[in-house]
């Protein structure tokens, strides 16, 4: 793919030239008698220039992009076709290894080839690639020139170059936003596709309702413990237990009280400092919370459990992971609750205070009920974040899929299992690895539903006070 950088540079050069020519033609319209009246020439000269430049650049870039994406394949196909019959590698792994060796030789990574056929193929590769490069370079230049010429001939004083350029800018912005949307869409599709493959091996009812999680697949048929169990209920329970129960028991009261203090009691100056500081806390990498949970909190929790006579306390516990996750979520809850409380009109608060209610009565009986939908929405968003959180549970909750309500025991979560299933060398067609996609799909659907529901609650509430 040598020279593609130079080709892009040439295309941009062509664009600049087209811009200059278009602008020059439009400047002539303006300079003509009567051309300087407003409206005599519809668009400013630089829009005419931009219009011609776009018509030159776009087709050229499309051709070059095609070359960049498909060029390797084209060259490889031709090189393989040119090999003498009999020395041609088999399609598949063999062919891939051969091509990789050829490319290595071309780049100069290898001083000599293992495969004598590759030596010849490398020379062929260089020649074929050069030919294609020239072909595509000339093609790009040609379509660019044609575009520019066509655009240039269309320029008239009343030609609406500005509207066309603006429309193109809009198109570009739409394209940019589509990238993110389509990527997400693609990820979801791949999740669904791989999950479907998994459900062909393991029945969906066993996955959703089975109580035993032991993701093993046999390498040999006669292996001990060759049958895996893919009942994900212990994982779902572990996720809910840590993320939605223990973490929320920590985060909701502390977050809510923080928000109440900041919105109702603290001095304006303190709030101005404390609120951003709290929000910075939300940006601490979760791995930092993770090792704090694993190295400090988990041993402390175990020692505490032993000291009160719980003998089977594990060194990795749901409680440790849940508490640290709760602390991590506090800024999130407090920030949402803060917004919800601040959105309650001041007249509500004044009305209650003027009735002789104390500030705490006002908060309990008027402000929190009025802000409740916003607070609930914020909590749901926090739950959806907590159940998707990975590092803390991987490091502190453990990997044992226990179905237990004892917070001192080790449990595991959906995210922790996905990590365990996909790290290391894995086959990508066994039920074990594919189950990670099914877990991911469930996690995605649950958090999506939570987010949609939470946002609709928050939105409805906002409308009520505008």
């Amino acid at each position: 793919m040598s020279g593609i950088g130079a080709m892009f540079a040439a295309a941009f050069g062509l664009g600049v030239l087209a811009w200059w020519l278009g602008r020059r033609k439009a400047l002539a319209f303006v300079a003509a008698p009567g051309g300087d009246r407003i409206g005599a020439v519809h668009s400013l000269p630089q829009y005419h220039g931009a219009f011609v430049a776009i018509l030159a650049l776009l087709p050229a870039l499309v051709v070059l992009a095609f070359w960049g994406l498909a060029g390797n394949g084209l060259v490889a196909a031709e090189v393989l076709a040119g090999l003498p019959e009999g020395t041609r590698p088999q399609p598949g792994l063999d062919q891939a290894a051969f091509l990789s060796e050829v490319r290595g030789l071309v780049r100069g990574d290898y001083a000599a080839a293992f495969n004598p056929v590759a030596e010849g193929a490398a020379k062929a590769w260089v020649a074929v690639e050069r030919r294609y490069a020239i072909l595509f370079g000339v093609a790009a230049l040609a379509v660019g020139l044609m575009g520019a010429l066509w655009g240039w001939t269309r320029l008239r004083p009343d030609f609406r170059a500005r509207s066309r350029v603006e429309r193109l800018v809009m198109g570009l912005l739409i394209l940019a936003s589509l990238v993110a949307t389509l990527t997400t869409f693609g990820i979801v599709l791949s999740l669904i596709f791989e999950s479907f493959r998994f459900f062909q091996m393991v029945p969906i009812t066993e996955f959703l309702f089975g109580l035993n999680w032991s993701p093993q697949t046999a390498i040999r048929a006669d292996q001990v413990g060759s049958s895996g169990a893919f009942g994900a209920v212990p994982l779902f329970w572990g996720t809910v237990f840590i993320g939605a129960i223990i973490a929320m028991i920590v985060a909701i009261p502390l977050g809510l009280m923080t928000a109440i203090y900041l919105t109702q009691y603290s001095a304006a100056g303190f709030r101005k400092v404390a609120k951003p500081v709290l929000e910075v806390l939300a940006g601490v990498p979760t791995v930092v919370y993770g090792f704090f949970a694993a190295l400090t909190v988990a041993p402390a929790v175990r020692d505490f459990a032993l000291s009160i006579g719980i003998s089977d306390a594990s060194s990795e516990s749901a409680l440790a992971a849940g508490m640290v996750m709760g602390v991590m979520i506090i800024p999130f809850v407090s920030s949402m609750a803060d917004d919800a409380l601040a959105a309650v009109p001041a007249s509500m608060r004044d009305g209650s205070l003027a009735m002789g209610a104390t500030p705490s009565e006002t908060i309990r009986k008027v402000l929190i009920p009025a802000a409740l939908p916003g607070i609930v929405g914020g909590v749901l968003l926090a739950v959806s974040r907590a159940i998707g959180e990975t590092m803390i549970v991987v490091m502190a909750a453990g990997m044992a899929a226990n179905l237990t309500a004892n917070p001192f025991n080790s449990v595991t979560t959906v995210t922790a299992q996905i990590v365990a299933l996909l790290t290391g060398d894995q086959e990508f067609d066994s039920a074990k690895t594919l189950s990670a996609f099914a877990l991911g799909l469930v996690l995605f659907l649950v958090t999506l539903a939570l987010n949609i529901f939470a946002l609709s609650v928050v939105k409805k509430y906002r409308e009520a006070y505008d």
């Binding site: 509500m348 009305g351 205070l353 009735m355 002789g356 009025a370």
Partner: protein, 272 residues
Amino acid sequence: MNQMSMDVGTALGSSEAVADAAPKMTARNVAVSYGATQALRGVSIDVSTENVTAFIGPSGCGKSTFLRCLNRMNDTVASARVTGEIQLDGKDIYAPDMDVVQLRARVGMVFQKPNPFPKSIYENVAYGPRIHGLARSKADLDGVVEQSLRRAGLWDEVKDRLADSGTALSGGQQQRLCIARAIAVNPEVILMDEPASALDPIATAKIEELIDELRGKYAIVIVTHNMQQAARVSQKTAFFHLGSLVEYGDTREIFTNPREPRTKDYITGRYG
């Protein structure tokens, strides 16, 4: 006397000011500042149960600021400083031993924009009695709610839907609900800060009627932009201008025979 003041003159209510038994609230030499800005200075006024007192004056003249001193709502503004003396039944309301919660139970307030709580109609009215422990039983509370809604002239309109949200009522009904809410704790003084300025003429007429009915039961102070309204509902009028009290006297006197030229100019529409 020109045409303008004739109009206001014809709007005067039928009731004359009666002699005050004893003033309910007295203010002496009250001054308020927000930070470095002096909002109000040297205001001395008496408020009685027998007569409705109206505060009039152009925007920013300090009339609402003074009203908010009477139940210490200015306490909620951190930068506000109040000096001078305000007494309720002879007791200084800014004294250290005065409990602001009890003060506000005795001096109720109705705001410019109706601000019912996002609760049911019943709960809105029951709010005050509940926080002050005024009702011993459910039946007791029911009685207080009904009586307050009757006094506010709202009972017949809402008696079948007490469980509906207070915010679902019309603007005029919401404001009468707020008045019922204030009445429910049986206050001695009711402060009204432009209570009809957000309402249509029919709802406004109802509020004005209501104020007239409540006269004699509560000491009522009303701030208004609308001079006809002041003339219709009040027996005493205080005219504020640029942070000071220009003239205070019987409403009939203020509107037909003002002593101060500034009062006359305002009433006849020269400015404001």
